[in-house]
Every structure is written in structure tokens, then in C-alpha cells.
Symmetry: C2
Amino acid sequence: MKTKERIVAAALQLFNEQGEANVTTNHIAAHLGISPGNLYYHFRNKNHIIARIFLQYSEHLRQSFTPLSGSMSSGSASPAMWFHYLDATFYVMWEFRFFYANLNDILQRDPELHQQYLAVQQELTLNLQALLRELNQQQVLIIADAEIAPLTDVLKMLVSFWVSYQSAQSLTPHISQAVLYEGVSRILLLLKPYFHPELGLELSGLMAHYQALSAKPSDPFHK
Amino acid sequence: MKTKERIVAAALQLFNEQGEANVTTNHIAAHLGISPGNLYYHFRNKNHIIARIFLQYSEHLRQSFTPLSGSMSSGSASPAMWFHYLDATFYVMWEFRFFYANLNDILQRDPELHQQYLAVQQELTLNLQALLRELNQQQVLIIADAEIAPLTDVLKMLVSFWVSYQSAQSLTPHISQAVLYEGVSRILLLLKPYFHPELGLELSGLMAHYQALSAKPSDPFHK
């Protein structure tokens, strides 16, 4: 790995483990055993590193939540499809949890990043709406057209602020994988009333899967 | 009004209008035309004032969300009951919006306040669950027992982080009453699938009411 990439990887790890506000560029350099000058050669400040991490975040959202037309041809909106989207949701919450833990602070101090965030959110919103509409057409879900936009909005909000909500709920917050899987379970809870009645068994299986993960103190999927 | 109460009222107004982080005790004193020394005689610092405002917040939650047993005797779970709870939700979001805009920052810098917050949240959770159970027994809503706790959790999260979510969604966030009424509409959206089918018309009326309020740029209810 090149130094620039090592800096980004180390920053992401330290931000997630210690909280972004508690990690300086000096900490990152010390963690990698490089000089602060070497770090500044690649990134002029911490916001610059965060902007680079944000590109990874955007790329993940783009790749994981673009509806794959054709893959859901009649009858193939299977559990595998749900695992794909729900695991991708878990991944983004876990991998970028420092960002969700401090979203408004990070956005407010970097208007350029905020602008990029809004563009990515807009794209994500359209993708999620298209996905729900496709599931609707497949009769996997039964959602009134007028409710697709506000329901998408609530799901986005749930994912974006689940980490913050959990932080408010404890004097010594610790964002574990189990806590994030609980958030994923809530997505299923919100969609449950819209599932086609014939898919009740499939839904129960999905819910049991993510509830089991949210009950575990830790999980081998990510260390 | 006594000076102490005037300080609390002015602080709440300034926090809401300008953001809590942008308002110092000196601003509050200047706004009231009193000396900083006079303010310090009543409150030793800003956190102390916030703690006092928090008591008002707690009192409002306690009074507005305690299920009124008997008031919902068969058939009386009427639109009036929904207006009561939903308007109370709007009120708390609007009246204490500075608190919701900055929840984790405010809680993290005052562990004593955080502890009180957790106690109030715990009480609120039990009240909301009791309320949903009562509506369930009245067959106003049809919710599986196992879903009452997670659904309450999602509703609490929605109210607690709606302001933060909206702030993230704009480069120049402005928390208007319309934005908060949109949050109230989302509560109805989430409860909609659980409404007893015979109450569809009542629900439509409620949704139309709050959607109209969320579409207005301003509303005479509060200035």
C-alpha cells in the first residue's frame, strides 16, 4: 500500500475506534510511524483526509444500492437480495461509524464536503425509491405510490442517525456490531407491514437472522 | 416574572433562534439588559441554565404522554386523542428544538444532565409502550405484542433526531414549524399500517391535517 492509502486506512481505523474528534493528524502519523511532515505532504489537514474517506463511503453507497435491473426478474426477489442490501447497510454503518457518530459537526465545518454529501444522498434517495418501486412491481412489497418517498426518507434517517441515537441512550456509549445489527433489524420492522402476505415466512427468517446478530455481544464478520 | 425565570425564558428563546453553541451567558444578560454578575447570581454557568430548561422539557413530556386511563374507554380513542398526542409531540420538538439540534453535544458535556435525560427517556418509553398497548386493546391499532417495544423505539428515535436529520439535509438548515410538522406526519406514516382498517377514514383526516401543516412555510399556532 502506498503511504497515501496507508494514511487513509489508519485514519479510518482510528476515527472509528477513538472518535474522530479525539484523533489528530499527529496521532495518525505516530500510529503509522511516519513524520507529521510526511503526512502533510499527502494531506494538508484532517478535513482533507475525511474528504478522501468520504469518497470511499460514496463509492460503497453507489455500488451497493443501485438497483440491479434484471436481477429481480419475476420471482427472484429472494432472501439473497435482502441479505445483499441489508448486509450492505450494516457494512456502511460499521465501516464509517465515526462519520455517523458526528455527522452534523463534520458536515458543518466543511461546506464542500456537505455539498458532496447532499449530492450523494440525492443519488441514494433516487436509487432507494427505484428499488422500492421495483419490489412493489414484483409484488414483494405492497406500498402505495405516494408513500414510497416518505418511507424512503424514514429509512434513510434511521440509518443516518441510528449511531447518534444509540450514543444518546447511554452514559458510556459503545457502538458494537450488535447495536448496528439492531438498526438493520429496525429496517425490516418498518418494512414488515408492507411485505406481501405470501412472503411472511421469508420475512420471519430474515428478521430472525438479524435479530440473532443484534443479540450477540460480538460477531466474527468484522473484528 | 422573577429574574431567574426571565433568564430561563430568554435563554430558551435565544438558544432556539441562534443555536445553543452560538449563545453565551453574556448574550443572555445583554438581551435582558441585566449585568453578567446578576445572571451569575442565579446561574453559575450555561449548563446550569440548560439543566433548568431541561426540567421544563421533562415536565412537558411527563404531563403530555402519560396515558390517561379511562379517557380512552371503548370508542373514545377519537381524533381528539390523536391531536392531543401529535400536537404535544410537535410542541416539544418546536419548543426545545435547540436541544434536539445538538443533543449528543449537550449530553456529553454534562454527565449529570445525561443521567437525568436517561431517566426521563426511560419513563417516556414506558408511557409510550403503555399507550400503544392501550390503543391495541381498544383495537384502534393492531400491533403484535413483540413489536410494541421496537416500534416505540423507532418513534422515539424519529422525534429525537428529526431536527438533526433535517440539518444534515441542507447547506443552510432552517428548522421551521413546517419541517417539524413533517416529522409529525412521519409518525402517522409509521403507524398507518397498524391502524384498524375501520379507522381508515379517521387516519386519512389526520394525515391530511398534518401534511397541510408541513406544506405551509409558516403557521400561526406558534410565532
